[in-house]
Each structure stands twice: as C-alpha cells, then as structure tokens.
Symmetry: C2
Subunit: 294 residues, 2 copies
C-alpha cells in the first residue's frame, strides 16, 4: 500500500464488522455510510473522522473499499457527483465487495479504468459473525498486481483470500456460492418442517444431521436459530432477494435453466411478503411452518 | 448380545462394507443376498458360511441385520416364506436399516412383535466409503432396551449411534437427511453448471466454496467426482429415486408442501431417464450440463 489511509464506504451488517478489522490492522479509516449512526458509532469507538460523503472519505486516501447493497449503489458511490472518483489519486485501487453479476462488475471496472482507477472485484462470504472476527472468505477477480496492492487490506478481514481470475471471476464465485446458500437454506427450512410435522425433537435431529451427509454450512448456522425460537440468524431477507435476483438475471442472460434456484427464489419472495423485507432470511422457515399448518 | 452369531441380509453397496465391519468386530456372520457374488466374495474373504436364503441366515443366529433396498424387500426378508421369522429365537432383535417411511417402519415393527421379534428401526447415512470404514451415522428408533441389546453390532459400523425415540423416529431422521442430501445435490449440480457456463475454473471455485457459507457435505463429496470427469461418486440413482419417492409419499400423506424436494425429485427423474437407473446419482450433474448446452 502506498499509504495507510483508506476510504471505507458501507457500514451495514457486513461492513460494520469489516471496517473494524481494517482499523485494528492499523489503517487510518475514513468511513462513510448513507446512515450516520454506524459511522458515528465507529468514529467514537476508534477516534476516526466522520465523512458525510464518499467524496470526503476519499480525501487523502490511497485506496477505497466499498460494500454497499447493490451494483447501482456501488456505481453511485464511485462515479456519482459526491463519489470517490476525482478525489482518489490516479491509479488508486477500488475494492468493490458488493454482490453483483460478473457482467456488471466488468462494466464498472471498465468505467473505473477510464478514470484512471484500478478495480478489484472482491465479494465476501461468511456472514456477520465472521465479518466481525475477520475470518471471511474473499473471492477476488482482478489483475494479479492489483490484488497484491490491496492484499493487506483484504487480509485484515479474511481467513482466505482467493484469486479466481480477472474482474468478474470473483463475482462469479460469489454467485455460485449464493445459489448454494439460498437453495440449501430453503431445503433446510423444508426439512425442519418435515421433522416437526413428524413429531421428532429438532435438537436431536440437528445433532444427527450434523454428522450425516445431509449437513451443510447453512444447516449448521441457521437451525440453532430455529431451535431457540428467535429466527434471528443475522441473515438479511433484503440481501437474499437481491442476490437471488442477480442469479435470476444472470441465468436469463445465459439462457441457463436453474430450477432449484428458481424454486428457492419463489419461496424467499413469499417469505418476504409475509415476514417483511427488513427481516431475517429465516422467515423462510416460518413460511414453511405456516404452509404446514404448524 | 446373547450370542455372537448374527444373520446379515443385503450385501449391496452399503451392506457390503457394513457386513465386513460386523465380521471384523468378532461376530460370526451368516450372510445372505439375492445376488450370490457378494456373498461368495465375503465368504472367501472371511471364511463365513454362504446362506442361500434369509431363513438359512437366521439358523443359529441370535439377531438379524437387514439392509435391502425397499420396505417391501425388507418385509419379504423378514416375513416371507423363506424369511427370518420362525428361524430366529423368540425375542430376537431385528435391525432394519433400509430407508422407508416412519409409518411403514411402525407397521413392520408391529408385525414383528406379533411374531415375538423385537424391531430396531436403524437407517444409516454416510455413503459407501464410510460404510466400509465403519464410520456411519446410525439413526435409531427403538425401545431403549432393544437398542442396548444391539448396540455393539451397530457400533461395529458406526461413528455415531443416535437414539431418536420409538420405532419410526430413526426413519424420520433419515428422511429429513435425504431431503437435504438430494436438494443439496441438485443445487450443487446447478451451481457447478453456472460456474462452468461463466468460464471460471471449477477446481478453484471448489476450493473457495469449501471455506464459504455455500458448502455442504454433498458439495464436498460430489464435486471432486465432477472435476475428475468420472461422475462416479458411488451414489446410486436407484436409491435417489427410491428415497425421493418415500419423501413424496410421506409429504402426500401429511398434505405437506415440499417445493424444494419436489423440484429435486423431478430433476432426478429426468437424470435417470437419460443416465439410467443403474447409474450414479451424479447423472444429475450431467443432466444440468446437457440442459445448459455444455
């Protein structure tokens, strides 16, 4: 890194943990989020400045990290009137960790290049707990030299940093992961409901399945939050619908049949309709129980 | 165990490994299968007798283990004209490890009781490799005393023996597991196809997903067999269709919507139609690739 000051835009459920990992690693962070509370909380905790725009976050920074919800938001953060572009030095790396289609990542990278910025396509996986611990999986699509320039930043919040190829390859890996996450989650909700309908204790079934071939990371992360009755896993329904929408769009562009992801998508939409967009993605389990009359 | 001689019926892909675990633990095994080859191979290897019927296997045995494909086959092995019943001593335990609906397990247990036999509902999970190693997950529905009577037998091929409740509870756990196994496998096939369609190296994606939230036991067991081009996982398409059929039947009886399992079922049927019933369940991955024009 040419210097140790970095802009960090997006202190949501994932970003809030990650920005603290970056700060703990000794980087001077200039944080920004459209909501002021998480930025204030971070500033009070770490003594950082408070930036009221992405442009302000970029002042004096040699690199930028962006983890906002959508590709449109990322484009606005970087290229908008109050964006990073123009404030970052020529050749500065922009690490974009928002989930988007590989095609969209390439479009943004081309646009960044036309402004003299280097684009690192770097979505993450692991959930909010691993984000806070700094043990995420980070999936990078970038030129090798561009990845090396930001590796210490990425390692501050990652257990594993994978280089998958050029820009777009990181987003591809993330999409493949999300197909599995949400299909496995919909199947988990359904399996749990079957178990309850048949009257067998869910905690015991959980202990069994964890040692059997039916287990998955999602099963092991989510089922305890069904057993404890909270249905509060930290997974966001808004993100589930958004990511499944990207999968749907990508499949349509490729004319690729994706029957399991399509079924999961319909179920998450139904769960959002009853549980709300602002809720937990475990609303899918409540939906299945309602459908079962439980 | 009152004595150390046991009947073992069903030396298929799972049973062939399990019967060897039982013999290694010092039990005198009386093996039977409708196909003579696996019985001959086992007898040559261990010096056991060769039994040409279930009835013959039961002669002098104090317990019986049955792992055949279907509930109908299990009923025939136990209660048929050449079956175990009548040859086993009164009060002998019959361990039935075939996957079936919980309701069917209870019917067979009642029938066994009317003949003075004790029924242990004990399906297993883990696949052929763990069957051969003796590290299966065994899910037991039985009276506690009946489980204790056969525990040394079960432990000979199990890493974990779980007691889930009365007869039917073991089959419930197995069904819940199979919903997850085949839904996760269909999703894995779809995710792999998306990855290939987008041109990212599957080995690299595999390494990434294993550390990310999308991973599952099925993903980790099956994807290496797609990468190596063999599509030979040891998973049986016949068993996939049979188990998904039991899920479908159970869901129908409960009037329970199971949209993910239903979608997976349709896909496995399509895969069987092109790949054959006698093939590997990874034909689902070939199917998805064909549908994608790969």
């Amino acid at each position: 890194m040419p210097s140790s000051t970095v802009a960090f835009v997006g202190l949501g459920s994932m970003g809030a943990g990650m920005v603290r990992c970056v700060a703990r690693r000794g980087f001077a962070v200039r944080p920004h989020d459209v909501r002021s509370e998480p930025v204030q909380a971070f500033a009070e905790e770490t003594g950082s400045v408070v930036c009221t725009s992405a442009a302000e976050a970029a002042d004096g920074a040699s690199a930028a990290l962006v983890i906002v919800l959508t590709a449109d938001q990322a484009a606005d953060v970087v290229f908008g009137s109050d964006g990073l572009v123009g404030r970052l030095p020529q050749g500065a790396p922009v690490v974009c960790m928002s989930t988007m289609s590989p095609g969209r990542a390439r479009v943004l990278a081309d646009q960044a290049a036309s402004h003299g910025l280097r684009w690192i396509d770097a979505p993450v996986s692991g959930g909010t707990v691993r984000a806070a611990e700094g043990t995420l999986t980070t999936m990078v699509g970038a030129e090798p030299a561009d990845l090396e320039a930001v590796r210490p930043l990425l390692e501050s919040f990652s257990r594993d940093v994978f280089h998958l190829g050029p820009v777009g390859a990181g987003s591809t890996a993330k999409l493949v992961n999300q197909v599995l996450v949400y299909s496995n989650l919909a199947a988990t909700a359904e399996a749990v409901t079957l178990c309850r309908k048949l009257g067998v204790d869910l905690q015991t079934i959980y202990d069994v399945i964890r040692t059997a071939v039916g287990t998955s990371a999602i099963f092991e992360m989510r089922v305890p939050k069904i057993i404890d009755g909270s249905y509060a896993s930290g997974g966001s329904m808004r993100i589930a619908l958004k990511d499944l929408g990207i999968v749907e769009e990508t499949a349509r562009e490729l004319a690729l049949p994706m029957p399991m992801a399509a079924q999961a998508t319909q179920l998450f939409r139904a769960a959002a309709a009853s549980g709300g967009l602002d809720g937990d993605d475990l609303a899918i389990a409540r939906l299945m129980e309602q459908l079962a009359g439980l």
